[in-house]
Amino acid sequence: MPTTEQLLSMYERMLLIRRMEERLSADYAAGKLPGAVHLYIGQEAVAVGVCAQLTDRDWITSTHRGHGHFLAKGGDPKAMMAEIWGKRTGICRGMGGSMHVADLSKGILGANGIVAGGIAIATGAAFGARLDGDGRVAVAFFGDGAANQGVFMETLNVSTLWGLPVVFLCEYNHFCEFTPSETVTAGQISDRARAFGMPCAVVDGNDVVEVWRAAGEAVERARGGGGPSFIEAKTYRIQGHLEAEAVILDGKYREEAEIEEWRRRDPIDRLREHLSAAGACDDDGFAEIESRVSGAVEEAAAFAAEGEPADPELAFDLMFVGQRP
């Protein structure tokens, strides 16, 4: 069980992700963000529960829905916000955008616009860690949709054979874009990992403590040379697949009632209730956290708004080290 301090820290981080993304949602609607934005609202417990088990020297790879992973792993909210605004103060200097936020100094190898694109990258980093033998771990976050890409099964095979310190973290959020996941997923995803002899856990992804515990076991195993693990976190995507979905979509793919039901299982509310019940935090305490978080969001938004647009010449410098493209 996490300490109260750890729980409070996870609570604050989850809230930060939530409020940052609510702000992004509003900014998107207001036409301030240039590109597409995929929000993580409702899934915060997964990123936060897992990343609480990692250090800056560990790696993660993320997805097109990557803000939560970025912030959970310690990425800077200001630099992320500025990136999404396309500013030169962005974490990727405006070259990446929402789908590509990365911070190598924090072990964040990047969000990824290619479904399942990060999994082999995490596996490769884990191979490096294995060769170094210094206990570093790589976590590949990916969606249930990504679990149908062959590269997922390929990496299960390689990582098992080579005993790589990698954790496969599948977020079953019930949708692949507008396709209900169960219509494109045969069997249980965890059985795919089990077929390779990999330790597996299926957890309630809206319960940060459960996620934290399963991640802790998997990370410990990996650090100790025990090889890869698979975790499936059952959760739900509350927002649309991407902001603007309502505008562009011809048709309906889920019921409001279903969303409502999952709202009642909101991971942040649940942790708050838990903390309240345990007497770890009272209303004043929560208000204080809320205000710290909204301060951070305001600061990030201001930082993003103030930044200069990305340098138009930068692409020419960045393609290669020491070489023009």
């Binding site: 396309g86 990446g96 590509h100 692949c176 396709t179 930068l314 393609m319």
Partner: protein, 323 residues
């Protein structure tokens, strides 16, 4: 003639061809709900046997397209964005483009692959590639880059009725543009460029996305007394070399405007064909206005810097007539 939006024209073509031939089937990720708009209404009309959402597994989808074609179906495979063509590239490059030859002609592959391409909307490097140069180099697949609703409809119908694999590349973000579309059933044959505007000073070949800005430039330069002939190849494979050569033989000058990266791009190829076959007519260097050899940056400020624009085209043309 009716005014239709680009994406509607595509949708019309799919509806009509699926109506016409029960062997036409369409599959891909999220095709049942029409997020691009091109597959609108198909599920209601044709049911899940003929249009179907797939899991996310491009390597399998491209391979299955080959197999379903071998089983006698006319396959339309929707790959959403061009960058995902790379994820399914093995069955494209190693199977689709080669199998007819390798089987000694036993196998026909009536496959149409749809994918959006191009930048300009800050979708970032992994959602805005312009992949036709790679496809053109494969040899065994047709490449279609319609710039108008009418061409979109006619080329798509032609592709679906044809016996060869064709990549139908939709200009991303152009879905809302509209144009006149013939009412009757028609197809646009492959390998016939459209001369969209005549002019005697400079030939400008413009591909897909680039046609519209180039027509704007041509209007503008006409007022300044420079006659720009605008040619839209419409299909890059097969390529209507003759129309381009004929034009350059008259104008003696060529600019190719291409949204693909420059190195080994379509512009390079067209320039090379002209430098070979129309050399005696050339009065000036052959110019390419294309995308530098970079991944597409996200920020609008940086993205617009690397995309060909009216200004760049205008400068290239003027550089040739008034050196």
């Amino acid at each position: 003639m009716a005014r239709r939006r680009y994406i509607q024209a595509i949708n019309d073509a799919l509806l009509e061809e699926m109506d016409r031939d029960p062997k036409v089937i369409l599959f891909g990720e999220d095709v049942e709900l029409a997020i691009f708009g091109d597959t609108r209404g198909l599920l209601d009309r044709f049911g899940r046997d003929r249009i179907r959402n797939t899991p996310i597994c491009e390597a399998t989808l491209t391979g299955m397209a080959v197999g379903a074609a071998a089983a006698g179906y006319r396959v339309v495979l929707h790959m959403m964005f061009s960058n995902f063509v790379y994820t399914g590239f093995d069955a494209i490059a190693n199977q689709m483009a080669k199998l007819r030859l390798m089987t000694g002609g036993q196998l026909n592959l009536p496959i149409t692959v749809l994918a959006g391409y191009g930048a300009g909307r800050s979708t970032g490097a992994q959602h805005s590639d312009t992949p036709y140069p790679l496809l053109m180099n494969l040899g065994g697949v047709n490449v279609l880059t319609p710039s108008t609703p009418a061409d979109a409809k006619g080329l798509l119908k032609q592709a679906i009725r044809g016996e060869n694999p064709s990549f139908f590349l939709e200009a991303s973000g152009r879905g809302a543009e509209s144009g006149e579309v013939p009412d009757e059933d028609y197809t646009v044959p492959f390998g016939q460029a459209a001369v969209l505007r005549e002019g005697r000073d400079v030939t400008v070949v413009a591909i897909g996305h680039m046609v519209k800005p180039v027509l704007g430039v041509a209007d503008e330069l006409a007022e300044r007394g420079v006659g720009v002939e605008v040619i839209d190849p419409r299909t890059l494979v097969p390529l209507d070399e003759e129309s381009i050569l004929r034009s350059v033989e008259r104008t003696g000058r060529l600019v190719v405007v291409d949204e693909a990266r420059d190195r080994c791009g379509a512009a390079s190829h067209i320039a090379a064909v002209v430098a070979d076959r129309a050399f005696p007519a050339l009065k000036a260097p052959v110019k390419r206005v294309s995308v530098p050899n970079v991944a597409m940056p996200y920020a609008p400020s940086a993205e617009s810097r690397v995309l060909p624009d009216a200004d760049g085209v205008s400068k290239a043309v003027l550089g040739l007539v008034a050196p």
